[in-house]
């Protein structure tokens, strides 16, 4: 069998497997009760969190988000036509909160990632400095030890047996 054919026979099934690969299905229920902005807000807050935002900083974002859930719930309870205006007002308020949270979370992500970077640089610089100090201390200790040994050698007394 020619070499090119053998290579083709190996590569072809691999390509087929790659083409047939599909992401695992997630059986979730599409929520028709929440504004679409909730998804973006949660994603943005998670990005800020993974960038290194502290728990108190994240907590400040969750207060308005939980308020938005309450308002969303109140809006959904208004089903009669005469409440339509109030419902719209509440949903607009929810959208405003979500937009505000997204903006704040975006800024927090930038601040947190900068802070994390500075902290990392600081930590690695500290590691380098500690290594330098330890090397100098080692060298000084070694030279001190040599001098001590030499001094001790010259202080030796020869005692004839």
């Amino acid at each position: 069998m020619p070499l090119t054919l053998r290579i083709t026979l190996v590569i072809l099934p691999m390509l087929l497997l790659l083409l047939l690969a599909r992401p695992t299905g997630v059986s979730s229920q599409p929520s028709d009760q929440l504004q679409p902005g909730f998804n973006q807000a949660l994603a943005q807050v998670q990005r800020a969190e993974s960038a290194g935002a502290t728990s108190s900083e994240v907590a400040q974002l969750l207060v308005p988000l939980n308020r938005a859930i309450e308002l969303n719930k109140q809006a959904l309870q208004l089903t009669s036509p005469q409440d339509a205006q109030h419902r719209t007002q509440l949903l607009n308020q929810v959208d405003q909160i979500l937009e505000s949270v997204q903006t704040q979370a975006g800024q927090l992500e930038i601040t947190a990632s900068r802070r994390t970077l500075i902290n990392k640089i600081g930590a690695y610089t500290f590691g380098g400095a500690a290594a330098l100090i330890a090397t100098l201390a080692y060298a000084y200790g070694l030279s001190f030890w040599h001098r001590y040994r030499i001094k001790r050698t010259f202080q030796m007394k020869v005692v004839p047996k």
């Binding site: 969750l62 902290n119 290594a131």
Partner: protein, 204 residues
């Protein structure tokens, strides 16, 4: 000590110290999960029924506390779904992460920080129930001062109703809620149920 030796010592110490820095600044992977609990009226895993009698009469207040702790490692949007079932309705399936087909009575939703515990007081009462031909049907449930009309399940002589509490989480990819949660590629589910009987005046 020669310069070469000094340089070698420095390089070794540099590697050691930078490794220490790397290990101390890199977060360790931890198990990702939620805790779900139901406590009785006295905030303990007891006293779930008034007078410790699981036969609940209409218009008698029952107080429980539902709690969720987020240990996923990031902010999560969590939903607690309360379902009313009877003996024949299938419970949620843990291994396949399939929720119970029992009807949803109420749901509570909240954004939860990592390591945060959220507790909800769950005060409920059977506002309206009928009993006919040996079958008891709950028509209305009052939960936290709100009344929920039910097309729910009936139980023979009012025995073996159950309140099912399911933990659902928001899935960013599908932009919807999902039963349980994903930890890596593994699907997990958390749910609880509390059984009770309903005693209507006609059913004795």
């Amino acid at each position: 000590m020669s310069r070469g030796n000094l340089l070698a010592v420095f390089l070794i110490l540099l590697i050691v110290f930078e490794l220490i820095v790397y290990v101390s600044t890199t977060p360790r992977p931890s198990e990702q999960f939620f805790q779900l609990y139901v406590l009785g009226a006295n905030h303990m895993a007891s006293d779930y029924y008034p007078g410790n009698n699981s036969n609940i009469q209409p218009n008698v207040d029952v107080r429980w506390y539902l709690g969720v702790t987020n240990l996923i490692g990031s902010v999560q949007l969590v939903t607690l779904r309360v379902k009313l079932g009877n003996q024949s309705i299938p419970p949620p399936n843990d291994t396949q992460a399939i929720p119970s087909p029992a009807p949803v009575v109420a749901e509570f939703m909240r954004f939860l920080q990592n390591n945060e515990t959220w507790e909800v007081q769950f005060s409920w009462r059977i506002s309206n129930a009928t009993a006919a031909e040996g079958s008891t049907r709950i028509l209305e449930l009052g939960i936290n001062n709100e009344t929920y009309a039910l097309q729910g399940w009936s139980a023979r002589n009012g025995y073996n109703f159950r309140m099912i509490f399911e933990l659902w989480t928001w899935n960013l990819q599908s932009e919807g809620v999902q039963f349980g949660w994903f930890a890596g590629n593994e699907r997990h589910a958390a749910w609880l149920q509390v059984w009770f009987n309903v005693t209507t005046p006609s059913s004795g």
